[in-house]
Amino acid sequence: MGQKKALLIDISLCVGCNACQAACKAENHLPEGDEKTLSLSAFTALSEHDGLFVRAMCQHCDIPTCVSACPVAALEKRADGPVLYSADKCIGCRYCMQACPFHIPRYEWKSTRPGIKKCILCAPRLEKGLPTACSEACPTGATKFGDRNELLIEATNRITADSGKYVPKIYGKNDVGGTSVLYISPVPFEKLGFDTRLGQEPMPILTMNALSKVPNVVGVGSVMLAGIWWITNRREDVAREEGSNKQDSNHKNRG
């Protein structure tokens, strides 16, 4: 599998030609057509914000929310980057869709055996040592494929080389714990529809904080409940032994 791969998307270089989407559709055998939002037939889509184009796609998080949410481990993160889905395991609970901070998975609502669809970072191509279809198709180099570490260095270089051209942030470097899709932008990310309030902590930590208390609840709880049972039971036994008559117990003052 080798190094963790990633995409570096330079928003200042994107001209909105949509070659990435066309290549993606061809690679994944999806129906052709110009689509502006993610759908079952578009795993990536360009949206325009004041003359700048932003590519939406699965961010392939390092510690993916969807992977932690899935009750049957139908989603998995591969060491070389892609977050993959297996429909054979999926029970269709849609918790991944609810949980994904980037709102990526699309559901086959029309099917009677539905699953989700999303970008798989061209995992089969990566195995052959090829870059993703979208990066290969990009005529301006706005989407660049490579090792994540190297792309981070390159992104930093581009930002520092021309101070003022970019805002000093690599979106995806640390957001939700880091992703395999990195963005640099000439304008603040909030203005391009990015959610910049997600924080640097991986989302799965939020539920793990609660889940990690489960063993404690079980351990302490069972001892406590058994203890309470023992004490109340003992109290009854003692009361009975002492020969106090039945009317004394608790609140038997009903008329």
């Binding site: 932690s68 009750p71 904080n209 709880g221 058994a226 009903r254």
Partner: protein, 390 residues
Amino acid sequence: MKTFKFPRITFWGVVATTLIVLGVGAAIARFTLGLGATTNLSDEFPWGLWIGFDFLGIGLAAAGFTIVAAVHLFHAKDYEPIVRPAILTAFIGYLLVVLVLVIDLGRPDHFWHPLVMWNPHSVMFEITWCVILYTTVLSAEFAPIVLEKFNLHTPIKWIHSVSLPLMILGVLLSTLHQSSFGSLYLIVPNRLNPLWYTPLLPILFFISCIASGVSMVILETLILSRKGRTLLPPELRANLAKITAVALAVYLVVRFQDMFTRGTVAELKHLTYHSLAFWFEIIVGFVVPLVLLLSNRIRHSRRGLYVTTIMVLAGFAANRMNVAVTGLEKYPTHTYFPSLLEVLIMTGIAAIGFTAFTLIARYLPIFPDVAPPEPDQHPFSSLSPAIEGD
């Protein structure tokens, strides 16, 4: 009692039958046409009415573990007569929730996958296991009632021999599982409205389920105590109302303390779609019933308890629906309203629940079999009646 009577045609019988027939029809449509054609669920709202209904059903079923804990673990023996109705409520509640979940799943044919494909990091995984295990515990707690009917005393003895660990397990599973429903939403801090999102969601879900579970028991004793039969003396019923009041008070303190410390209380400054939903839930379901239950007269009045418990349950339902649906809406652009078929499936399943309760209560020994309002002899225990009788 023992003679078989041909079922009479009653108003509620007709209503229930209609709802069940409509619900079954809607379920057939859902399975043949798929979720997209029959529901208003979408990529924006992958979860809707049914998840809210699950939360509600599980919350009402909290009656089961609270009463079992009170009577059998804490030895509040006076409440013995309501153990069986509470277990029955919980058992039916859980079975119905499982039914709704299976209907809600995109791949109901894969429902068994969590048993063999594990992901302990998933809240959904924990919930699935808790539901399965607790439904098993409930069937073991319910089994003696059926066995007793058919005079099978040996299996009852077996169950009785493990009843203590079984009951402790049941209480623990309920605790985990009631709170896990809140944990589900810990992962959407960016999407759930701050009026509902808090790291304390699991704790708030647990506290409120005690209020709703006990309210459900009170409501049941009120309804079932009508025809000249007193299920629970008014004094004990008033005590249950006190427990509800305490749970409501604790809930309000925790919820508002959290909102003040985290600053989310600022969301209430303006009257919005969300703040209206919030105030409805808090005032109807928590503040007003709490104030009413502080009065000794209301705690002893049938009408007072009817009103307060129904308010608690309505507020509880509003709270769960707000977390599951309203809190995720972005008014007015991203909203969700259930489709007719979603509603019909839900009402159909609710009708199945009420019908099942009524029929089981009629044919199995759920209530102390003494018609006069003074049950003098020791009422039978839920788990070991046959043995004590020996």
